[in-house]
Symmetry: C2
Subunit: 418 residues, 2 copies
């Protein structure tokens, strides 16, 4: 099939020929198409049957340029190949938290999938102060169940290297390398500052040698440590949820990288929301305590449950296929020590990457609406300074935190719950 | 060209058609071919013109099986592609320590190169107690000059990832993963023990949980940290030298891995020689002091010079292409701190990998003649136990050594110079 860019007009004709789609719609001549892509990279269409709107799919198609800029910024469509491969992996290991895929085509750089029409993007919902009681449970499962199977603990060396090869994803990794792990920490033209930001604020990030070395070490880990197949962009805008269900979408940044990058992306976004809601809860006419307390408990539970589930997966794998390496009298002690030390390493990476994800959302190009859409710039600046204070301690002292509770205690020290 | 396995009889006919070889020999009808491959994997032919034996080349050809075992152990000829690519890289960045390449063919899985006929394999020479006064200077240059250019400090993300892709080398990595980093530390059928080895000796390695976790961490680093293009097998049998010149050969294990693996391979082999020469110097009728002192000083100088040269390369690269990341008043302090912390990390990896290289040569499949050919088994066992004592401290406490001199002090503590 030759690539062509779809439009609302051409979508119905395209879908008509796909047998797996024919089974979803009772009448393929009665489709309604809405272009809803609010992302920076791709086009997204919601398709419904007019008379039976519960018959619905979503189409996501990549175009060969950066959508937010236009055709002047070329970006290879191959990003959709990574998304398709990653969705297949996520579906295999954690189907309950991945939208159902009905059809995909690397030629057309598109995927036809479940329309998550009873769910909303988590970031928007959290800005509105909605609580998701199962979020930590679900995301910790997604992380433990998608990450563990692609580590060297699980795959053979040959299997792992073949997968690493298939997921070498230089274009989208470069976006992270530049916009998350480099530009915000230097005087760079892509950074965006609002009017209240002072030179001292910028220097706090850009002229602190200790901080910059710590960030450079996280960047080095991102570029060198091919531990597992990551989602690669697991912020709260890549999650759609309601009170009962949670779905992870948009894995086009997938590549083999450090496990803590995925875990840290999510937890860093929770801390961003925590600081934002010192202001936002007041904007919503509420006392800040309850919601922000939920956010911190969610961060804690996500890490603690992730750690426990990752270890459960590891122990189960060892029971299924016992390693002769641990086959001696005290071998279980060695294996337990190995797990403990490895999870300790993931914890340090998680803290370091969470901090980078937080900092880049303050002074980098891409902001988070949680904070950037606080209308009172002075209030926004206070939130941003709190984020920076916390992130700086996190990345520099990432090896001295002993538990996730110490992190949420730090968050509360910087911005008390009440 | 279709692959065919050469023999001493077919070599002259093969060479005749290669224009770069035609320029070496004044008479292509008068060649003498000697099969000299003493390696485990490949066939090696020395070719000389009978009347002008200074007109000479070496041919190394891979066969599609493990030569030491035979056709029953298939091993893909693609290993020669890695060797050819790595030789090109080494020639580009450090020609003075790489044999000259006259011709290579991935179809034929062979390379025609300089015959190092005024040089000998370093291991054999060191067994005989020969001193190589320029060894540390040359190998530290080889390491610093071949490793730095393929790090993320030097390449762009895209360039690095493309190279990583070309050097995914699962077959030969698996040999290291199994025979260096797994089997020796468990009760494995491929391990080889001589008659004096006791169960307690085996348990010392195979039932020490702390040791095994430390080794597993080195294996994890080997499998996950794609820091630079490594030689991959830099023991003293992969080096040919005389008093003036040093050449590094046989880079078929090349892949993107942790820098400390190459540095540690060489330094670990020096420590093996140090312990071997407690016995060997007596066998040679000498006092152990001078030669063993030279070995330790060579280990120290190799690390110290490597560290200094790596940093010189890094600073020079930064001066050529200044990074805006360090472009602020105190930026030079940040950059210096980054180098210091990075080299500290390489040092810890070097110690850990050196220890694994030492241990596997005692109880694994492949021995080193330095120790394994000591005829008195009781004396050999004492040497082996000393190696094990040192290696265990090294790998477990790799993060607490502050200098290479502390390592050589430990070596002397375990086996005093006199």
């Amino acid at each position: 099939m030759e690539y062509r860019q779809l439009s609302p007009e051409t979508v119905p004709g395209f879908l008509k020929d796909i047998s797996s789609v024919q089974q979803i719609f009772s009448d393929l001549d009665d489709l309604e198409v809405e272009e809803v892509g609010d992302g920076n990279l791709n086009f997204v269409y919601k398709v419904r049957q007019r008379k039976n709107p519960e018959q619905t799919v979503v189409i996501k198609q990549a175009v060969p340029f950066l959508r937010i800029v236009g055709e002047s910024w070329p970006l290879s469509r191959t990003r959709m190949n990574f998304e398709i491969q990653a969705l297949e992996h996520h579906t295999k290991y954690c189907p309950q938290h991945v939208p159902e895929i009905f059809y995909s085509s690397t030629d057309m750089s598109l995927v036809v999938m479940q329309n998550l029409n009873r769910h909303a993007v988590l970031r928007g919902e959290m800005i509105l102060g909605k609580i998701f009681p199962k979020l930590a449970e679900h995301i910790s499962s997604f992380l433990a169940n998608t990450l563990f199977p692609t580590t060297d603990w699980c795959l053979t060396g040959g299997e792992k290297k073949a997968m690493v090869d298939r997921f070498i994803n230089p274009e989208l990794c470069k976006i992270t390398e530049d916009f998350v792990l480099t530009n915000p920490y230097e005087d760079h033209e892509t950074n965006v500052y609002h009017d209240e930001v002072t030179q001292a604020d910028k220097d706090y990030l850009q002229q602190d040698s200790q901080l910059k070395v710590a960030v450079a070490e996280m960047k080095y880990a991102f570029m060198n440590h091919s531990e597992a197949l990551l989602h690669g962009d697991l912020h709260i805008g890549s999650i759609m949820a309601n009170e009962e269900e949670t779905y992870v979408i948009d894995p086009e940044f997938a590549f083999f990288g450090p496990i803590g990058f995925d875990v840290g992306a999510f937890i860093g976004n929770l801390f961003l929301a925590y600081y934002a809601h010192e202001v936002r809860q007041k904007m919503l006419g509420r006392e800040p305590f309850e919601y922000r307390n939920w956010i911190l408990r969610t961060a804690e539970e996500t890490w603690n449950q992730f750690q426990a589930k990752f270890e459960v997966n590891w122990v189960a794998h060892e029971q299924d296929a016992p390693s002769s390496y641990w086959n001696y009298q005290e071998g279980h002690i060695g294996f337990a020590l190995q797990r403990q030390r490895f999870l300790r390493h993931i914890f340090e990476d998680t803290i370091g990457f969470a901090a980078c994800k937080m900092m880049r959302r303050i002074y980098g190009l891409a902001k988070v609406a949680d904070i950037a859409e606080i209308p009172d710039l002075k209030a926004r600046l206070e939130v941003e300074r709190n984020v920076m204070r916390m992130a700086k301690v996190m990345v520099q002292q990432r090896s001295s935190f002993r538990s996730i509770e110490e992190l949420s205690a730090l968050a509360q020290e910087i911005s008390p719950l009440r």
